[in-house]
């Protein structure tokens, strides 16, 4: 049966406790197309998709699947209709194995799990995605990028006809992203309709056929991707022209502020590096390269096996994040939901948590006035979209949650900022804001260690880049010599040897 549209959504409205997240959205998806859904943080993209997948109920509107009116009340019903979704935030059971997570709802026939068969099936799905990892490992112990691949494998293995991917590449490096795109293209050949949400414009233009732009809960434009260029799309998203993506680096690079000497840990060994005042040092590496583990160890999040850390020339024995913070080190962790935020607590509590003494009296009584002052300023500076900072952090959109994590550490006087994917899931406009902030921080003499999977970002913002692979530093490039090709060559070179 040939229908023009796999999905049509008409006049969809949704409010959360008085906040209008969707104000009458129309959206349609054809079979065999990859359809980009783009827009600022808090525009309503995830909310729209959660309505399609049955996770949220809409207040008003109609949905047609295959031209037939559909009532999607529950995730189960959505699945029956052929909707598969990878949510922006992970929905995995940490204690279960990778294989169990992928086939959580199809573990075996008649209530009996045939483990060998289950592992084989899981391995096959992942291998089709170009991934080889022991599927018996519990999900809790793998990095976010692997988790993301598990989520994707889970959605793909359900044979969905309508596949929603909500910012799947935010934590992936170019290699994995390419593998994902290959998988998306073959699904497209098979007539599956793919909805692809991303804040990375280059990806949208390279893989998508059509686009819908949202802003403040409304659709502001859309059509075939060929009819748009990047600037035009960005303007539709943020309502103004964006002059430069990467503001020029002007901070003067000074003396050494952080030095690692032959650091050994569980996932890395013999790591040495030097970070200077006013410098942004990029750390680039593939999934599982050990980059995140290095960052956490320096901050005191995980134990070190050996090696020395020097802050401002003096050896620092950092055994806990508390000690790391006292030494003037900050860590913006890779996983905001689990490591960055207390989701159930108010936004403002999250922001002031790192430096709560600053807004309280000597006896430990929090001053509401001082707290509000500090919070309001940060919220304004980072354009966090919220109506009331007393609401729990869980009510924020993904990108806005990320901004809160950054705000937490701006509120301290840290001199060494370790940022693990700082712009993960942040929209283009706010990305520029964060880059400006980084420039501001370095101009004041801070040093920034930025881990990123986005080559553009590394090239655009870093004064130097270290390429990390298999738990060790494989090479270094100064700003003048940084090109996509040369960076990737260092990674691949590491693999070849």
């Amino acid at each position: 049966m040939a229908v023009e549209f796999l999905v049509r959504m008409r006049g969809v409205k949704k409010s959360f406790a008085g906040v209008k997240a969707l104000r009458g959205v129309d959206f349609s998806l054809r079979p065999g197309e990859i359809h980009a859904l783009v827009g600022e943080n808090g525009a309503g993209k995830s909310t729209l998709m959660k309505i399609l997948s049955g996770a949220h109920a809409m207040d008003e509107g109609d949905i047609f699947v295959d031209g037939e009116p559909a009532r999607i009340g529950t995730p189960r019903r959505a699945k029956e209709l052929g909707v598969g979704i990878v949510y922006q935030e992970f929905e995995l059971a940490d204690d279960l194995s990778i294989a169990e997570n992928i086939f959580i709802d199809r573990l075996g026939a008649h209530g009996i799990v045939r483990w060998r068969d289950l592992y084989e099936r899981a391995q096959r799905v992942l291998r089709n995605l170009g991934f080889d990892i022991d599927v018996r490992r519990p999900v809790g112990g793998i990095s976010v990028a692997y988790k993301q691949m598990v989520e994707i494998a889970k959605a793909l293995s359900a044979n969905a006809r309508i596949l929603v991917l909500d910012e799947p590449t935010a934590v992936l490096t170019p290699n994995e992203t390419e593998k994902l795109f290959a998988a998306m293209r073959s699904l497209k050949e098979a007539g599956v309709g793919v909805i692809y949400i991303s804040h990375r414009m280059d990806e949208v233009f390279s893989v998508c056929d059509s686009v819908t732009v949202m802003r403040d809960g409304e659709v502001t434009g859309g059509g075939r991707i060929a009819d748009f260029d990047v600037d035009g799309l960005v303007e539709l998203m943020i309502g103004r022209k964006l002059s430069t993506m990467y503001p020029p680096r002007t901070a003067a690079v000074g003396g050494e502020i952080l030095r690692l000497e032959r650091l050994d840990g569980d996932a890395f060994s013999d790591v040495s590096l030097t970070l200077r005042k006013g410098e942004i040092l990029g750390v680039f590496g593939l999934v599982g390269s050990g980059r995140t583990e290095i960052a956490r160890a320096v901050f005191g999040g995980d134990g070190l096996r050996g090696g020395k850390v020097f802050v401002n020339g003096a050896e620092a024995r950092i055994r806990s994040p508390h000690q790391g913070k006292r030494r003037g080190i900050a860590l913006i962790p890779e996983n905001r939901k689990e490591q960055g935020l207390v989701l159930d607590m108010p936004i403002k509590t999250n922001i002031t948590m790192t430096n709560i003494r600053k807004v309280s009296s000597r006896l430990g009584v929090v001053s509401a006035k001082r707290e509000n002052g500090a919070v309001d300023e940060l919220v304004r500076r980072l354009t966090v979209k919220t109506r009331d900072t007393r609401n729990p952090a869980s009510t924020l959109s993904g990108g806005n949650q990320q901004k809160v994590v950054i705000a937490k550490w701006l509120n301290t006087d840290a001199e060494v900022m370790i940022m693990d994917e700082p712009t993960r899931g942040v929209d283009v406009g706010a990305k520029v804001e964060i880059y400006n902030l980084m420039n501001e921080l370095t101009a004041r003499g801070a040093g920034i260690l930025m881990i990123s999977s986005e080559l553009n970002e590394i090239i655009g913002m870093c004064d130097r880049v270290l390429v990390v692979d298999k738990g060790g530093v494989r090479g270094e490039l100064p700003r003048e010599l940084m090109t996509e090709k040369d960076i990737m060559k260092l990674v691949v070179g590491g693999h070849g040897s």
Binding site: K325, G340, D344, M353, V365
Partner: protein, 320 residues
């Protein structure tokens, strides 16, 4: 609260938060129908006085539960304090202490006890259920050892006066419970300490990665709980004796009070007001059942059912 804030917070959350207050109000009205004499000031004070020990102990329990832990040892520590205090004061012995050092030493003992338990839970990462299960047995055993399983009369006049007299008709023990309530309520809503305790229960990893010594805070709640058990245990000795058998099952009442008050056993959720309501609801139901001449064993069954219903109500609210 401003309109924006009201709109911003979900209405269901507000309903959930005020549910225990509403239930208590309904119970009070219901009980006044059962017995017209019930709603006298004297009776209300009696209710408060009967439960002042439980109230005090429940606030320690609340702090522990907020961090996501549980303290099964509260009843035993209260009993231990009760006999230790009485023994130290025992005027039948030559080396009987004066009141202040006796109280100080008792308090110090339970603080040490709480510190040990807290250390095992926070720094050695042992499950609080297991650690306090063990310390529950140990403390009760210690209480029997000190007292040789006998009651120890308290002859100290100040103590007995404290337990008997009142200020403007409010018994001292009730004033003490009220003070503890105010301090805990203030700590939870306004202080760094209370805020971090709650945050740790919601997401310990995120709090730790904010550069906060989570282990220290976790340990401290067990110390606070033990200290409050000392107060509770001494108040429970109002009959004028130190007794190793007092406060049997107090841990269950305290946990039940927190849960009826909407605290979540996985941590991060619960308020002082609602915990107070929880204690009073339990106490009032007990009184009503006595008024209705329900025998003790069925009383226990009914209490159990009420706890389940309370949790069910909150579970439904949470799922939405």
């Amino acid at each position: 609260m401003s309109d924006a804030a009201l709109a911003g917070r979900s209405r269901l959350a507000l309903v959930r938060e005020s549910l225990p207050v509403a239930v208590l109000a309904i119970l009070i009205v219901a009980s006044s129908f059962l017995n017209r004499n019930f709603l006298t000031g004297q009776n209300i004070f009696n209710l408060l006085r009967q439960n002042s020990g439980t109230i005090i102990v429940s606030f320690g329990m609340l702090l522990v539960i907020l961090t996501g832990g549980i303290d099964l040892s509260v009843g035993s520590v209260a009993a231990f304090s009760s006999v230790l205090f009485a023994t130290l004061l025992d005027e039948r012995q030559n080396d009987a202490m004066a009141l202040p050092p006796a109280f100080g030493l008792t308090l110090l003992c339970s603080l040490g006890f709480g510190a040990l338990v807290g250390y095992l839970v926070a720094y050695r990462k042992m499950a609080s259920f297991v650690v306090t299960l063990a310390s529950m047995t140990a403390a009760r055993g210690g209480a029997y050892m000190i007292s040789h399983a006998k009651t120890i009369p308290i002859t100290n006049e100040t103590v007995n006066a404290f337990n008997k007299s009142s200020l403007f008709r409010v018994p001292y023990s009730v004033i003490l419970a009220g003070a503890v309530f105010l301090v805990v309520a203030f700590a939870l809503s306004r202080t760094v300490y209370g805020r971090l305790v709650k945050a740790i229960g919601s997401n310990e990893t995120a709090v730790r990665l904010s550069g906060i010594r989570t282990d220290f805070y976790v340990m401290s709640v067990y110390m606070v709980s033990a200290a409050l058990c000392t107060l509770g245990g001494i108040i429970e000795s109002r009959t004028g004796v130190g007794d190793a058998r007092v406060c049997q099952g107090l841990e269950l009442d305290a946990i039940a009070a927190c849960v009826i008050g909407g605290a979540s056993l996985s941590g991060g959720r619960g308020t002082a007001v609602n915990t107070l309501m929880g204690v009073l609801i339990l106490g009032l139901i007990g009184n009503i059942m006595v008024l209705m001449r329900i025998p003790p064993y069925p009383q226990q069954v009914i209490k159990g059912v009420i706890i389940i219903v309370a949790v069910l109500l909150q579970g439904q609210n949470k799922a939405k």
